[in-house]
């Protein structure tokens, strides 16, 4: 799954590194803030929107990014894809619009059969790949089969394979794609908006020839000129792009694993934008106070959570999970950990931007939490809560949560684990920890991928037949209003019974140069067409 530095990183990348960088960032912040105070009082309020306007035509945008790994590839299906390049050089069949709905990309329109098992996509006719080949349904079919190929081990395969067999993908004519599902799914087009689902040319991933992982031949607004795994690369404007030529002439990508080094590069004017980087507040204020750079917020783009492992004591008991959720004050956690830059999560993992979102919430009640624990024989419950320097919000969130649940008689010991191995040693292994995900997954993908029993990303190991049944019912319901009600029932069920504590959704604090105009990013969508530089 995409998170700030997959290695990281990279960058990414990180325990001692981030600890040092963290201390360093704060240190630099103090000095810089002092240095910048002459140019105007540093505002505590970070801007929300990026500057917009009429950009210069052309120009070279330089983006610093955390590398996924030394084995990075441009194959979108791969778990190790170089994320920033994908949106620049490829298109998908469908993508997510600003209102959270599924909108057209390479597919112009789509129509389900009455029972939702057969989807017919009408594909655009005016699209060519960067090598001049026209885009046809054969490419779309190949892309889906490549995603399902067990050798590729694509993260999206786990989502698609249960309902899609490679033999069920048909191309009646060059501009029609027919997908026969093995079970009905009314939300199937939304599953093709994943960043693994970018369309690649027919046969481009076969061994023996030039591989898509190196060539990056797509239909996107930019053509690949060079790419080095975990190194620098460059894409140039594609004048033949079907949506029109992008504003910029070129984008240069630089891999910088260390967050502090990335911030320094921005402050020194060496790069224009820090990708996949949620800056800590100290660094964000420093950047905002500088003359060259500023901050834009990607609103509610990070879902922060404290997953309770439902297969580990004491969380095998649903009453204990309920008590943990009742015990804390989400407002306090939001204020401390995000200093207000986000919204309360209501323990519902579905973000407010999602069209099917429900505002269902259970009011905080530490007394009832105490009662539930007493009844479960767990008075004076004491647990370890794991955090790491992987993300700047983890530890403040953990500490605020710890302080908040004390009122219910729960004692938490916050333990800091190494960031380098946080997601291989702690995640899904320790009963209670801090995590985050990028929001932007459509509800069908989110609930099935992270909450369905047995899914490999199910971080709470929660398996509930009633909930899974609700999901099956929802995806099979072709009536939109009834489907909405079912998805909202599913959300309420997660809030009441699931293992996820979701205190908040956070804005990502993105560092960018004051020269950048029309930076727009939400979920996994980045507007590469309109981003430009000041005249």
């Amino acid at each position: 799954m995409r998170h700030a530095s997959t290695s990281v990183r990279p960058p990414g990348g990180i325990s001692r590194r981030s600890l040092l960088a963290g201390g360093l960032g704060a240190l630099g912040a103090t000095w810089l803030a002092a240095g910048c105070s002459s140019s105007g009082p540093a505002s505590r309020d970070l801007p929300v929107e990026a500057a917009s306007g009429d950009p210069a035509s052309g120009g070279v945008l330089r983006i610093a990014r955390p590398p996924a790994s030394d084995a990075e590839t441009l194959d979108p299906a791969s778990a190790l894809s170089a994320y920033e390049y994908l949106g620049a050089v490829y298109n998908r069949l469908t993508r997510i619009g600003e209102d959270g709905s599924v909108v057209a990309d390479l597919a112009e329109s789509w129509e389900p059969s009455p029972d939702g098992t057969r989807w017919t996509f009408a594909l655009r006719r005016d699209v060519t790949f960067h090598d001049g080949r026209p885009f046809t349904s054969a490419d779309a079919r190949y892309t889906l089969r490549h995603l399902l190929d067990p050798d590729v081990a694509s993260p999206q395969a786990g989502v698609l394979a249960p309902m899609l067999d490679p033999s069920g993908i048909h191309t009646p004519d060059p501009h029609t794609l027919v997908v026969e599902l093995t079970r009905p799914n009314a939300e199937f087009p939304s599953l093709l908006t994943s960043y693994n689902c970018y369309v690649i040319p027919d046969g481009s991933a076969e061994p023996g020839g030039p591989r898509i992982g190196d060539t990056g031949i797509g239909t996107g607004p930019f053509r690949l000129e060079s790419f080095t795994p975990a190194g620098r690369g460059r894409v140039v404007a594609n004048p033949e792009h079907w949506q029109g030529r992008p504003v910029l002439d070129e984008i240069e990508f630089y891999a910088i694993p260390d967050t502090q080094a990335r911030s320094n590069a921005l402050l020194a004017g060496q790069v224009h934008l820090l990708s996949q980087t949620n800056l800590d507040f100290a660094t964000a204020r420093v950047i905002n106070a500088s003359e060259r750079a500023t901050i834009a917020r990607s609103v509610n783009s990070q879902w922060y959570g404290l997953p309770m492992l439902c297969t580990a004591e004491p969380f095998t008991d649903p009453a204990v999970r309920q008590a943990m959720k009742l015990a804390y004050d989400p407002r306090a956690v939001l204020d401390v950990a995000l200093q207000g830059a986000g919204v309360i999560g209501n323990d519902n993992p579905v973000p407010p931007e999602e069209p099917y979102w429900t505002d269902y919430r259970v009011e905080r009640d530490p007394e009832h939490a105490r009662f539930l624990l007493r009844r479960a024989g767990l008075e004076d419950l004491r647990l370890d809560l794991y955090t790491s320097a992987y993300d700047p919000v983890f530890t403040p969130m953990a500490l605020a949560f710890r302080d908040s649940v004390r009122e219910a008689g729960i004692t938490l010991d916050v333990r800091t684990a190494a960031a380098e191995s946080y997601f291989s040693q702690i995640w899904m292994q320790k009963p209670l920890m801090a995590t985050y995900w990028y929001t932007g997954r459509p509800i069908e993908q989110l609930l099935n991928q992270i909450f369905r029993g047995g899914s490999s990303y199910n971080e709470t190991a929660w398996a509930d037949d009633r909930f899974d049944g609700l999901l099956d019912e929802a995806r099979g319901e072709m009536d939109a209003d009834r489907r909405r009600m079912l998805y909202q029932d599913a959300q309420r069920y997660v809030v009441d019974h699931g293992g996820s504590i979701t205190p908040m959704f956070a804005d990502r604090l993105v560092g960018l140069s004051r020269d950048v105009l029309n930076y727009r990013e939400y979920g996994f969508e980045f507007d590469y067409l309109n981003i430009g530089l000041r005249r």
Partner: protein
């Protein structure tokens, strides 16, 4: 004298061989599976199984050790688990970049610090000594990443004359890297200078209080001649060891500084290797660091022998 050199060479080789065993064992004991570490949060059982198969991780450890040592002797350090490139090529490239920093740092810092240290020693307790000792104490106490941040703040952000980070990859030419070398070299130099200054000062003071210096002075030699011909060779002896250790530290321990500057050297390669659980890469870097330590010490010992009349004479007597 020859037998002394031979003995030192033999023990150096033995040290390297022993460290190769230790390195291999230590890395085997690291927690975490390479495949799941590379994949991170995407380490689904299927993905891990696929990757483990691709990486041949199922051979027994002793067999992999023998293959590794056998390869290392012939210059083949294996293939990086993360990138699939030969380790020797990648390490070589990064080592070249680190050596570029090392050479600049050593040339500037060692010269400067020996001169400052000797000056401080000669002007003991007078103002040049107070100034030099004070500054070197500060340099020693402030961690190098703070020095690095201050340098970036001053010379990249406030007055942008030098780049804050290196944007080029490891295969950049020396010419492309040269503008980026000065800040990391300065950050390392500050820490390194401090130690050498302190050591040089102490040994100059010790030697100047020695009887043979007094004798030389009483013989009526000029102060300059006493210092250069009699005191300095002896005073530099212990300093030489400190310099050798610092040079070794430079090649092995530039991790933090390289990271702050995104400099594509051995240090950042090692961090990346740790991050990726890239065992062949880590082994190669650890082995090379061990070899550099041993070689620097060997050079210091041999240098000391060349400078130390007593050692030289005794050996000559022995061989006769």
């Amino acid at each position: 004298m020859l037998s002394f050199v031979a003995r030192r060479l033999f023990s150096a080789l033995l040290t390297i061989a022993l460290s190769s065993v230790l390195i291999f064992l230590a890395l085997q004991a690291l927690p975490g599976d390479v495949a799941s570490q590379i994949l991170g949060r995407d380490a689904t059982p299927e993905a891990v199984a696929t990757l483990r198969e691709q990486l041949d991780l199922d051979q027994p450890a002793w067999q992999r050790y023998l293959e590794w040592v056998g390869g290392a002797v012939t210059g083949d350090l294996g293939t990086s688990l993360a990138s699939g490139e030969p380790v020797a090529t990648e390490v070589g490239l990064h080592l070249r970049n680190t050596l570029l920093i090392a050479v600049v740092t050593i040339l500037v810092a060692v010269t400067l610090s020996v001169v400052l240290g000797v000056l401080a020693g000669l002007y003991r307790d007078r103002w040049p000594d107070t100034l030099i000792s004070g500054l070197s104490l500060v340099g020693m106490s402030v961690p190098e990443f703070v020095v690095a941040t201050l340098l970036v703040l001053a010379l990249s952000i406030t007055v942008p004359v030098l780049p804050a980070v290196v944007l080029d990859g490891p295969s950049a030419s020396i010419g492309e890297l040269l503008p980026a070398v000065w800040l990391p070299a300065a950050a390392l130099g500050v820490a390194m200078t401090a130690y050498i200054v302190r050591m040089a000062r102490t040994s100059v003071i010790d030697v100047m209080a020695g009887e043979f210096v007094t004798t030389a002075t009483l013989k009526g030699l000029g102060r300059w001649r006493v210092v250069t011909r009699h005191a300095l060779p002896s005073a530099l002896l212990p300093t030489l060891n400190v310099i050798a250790m610092n040079v070794a530290w430079l090649v092995g321990g530039v991790v933090v500084v390289e990271n702050v500057f995104n400099y594509p050297g051995v240090g950042s390669l090692m961090l990346q290797a740790v991050h990726n659980r890239d065992l062949p890469m880590l082994q190669a870097i650890a082995l090379i660091s061990a070899a550099v330590y041993v070689l620097c010490n060997l050079a210091a010992d041999l240098g000391a022998m060349a400078l130390n009349p007593r050692l030289r004479t005794r050996e000559q007597v022995g061989t006769r």
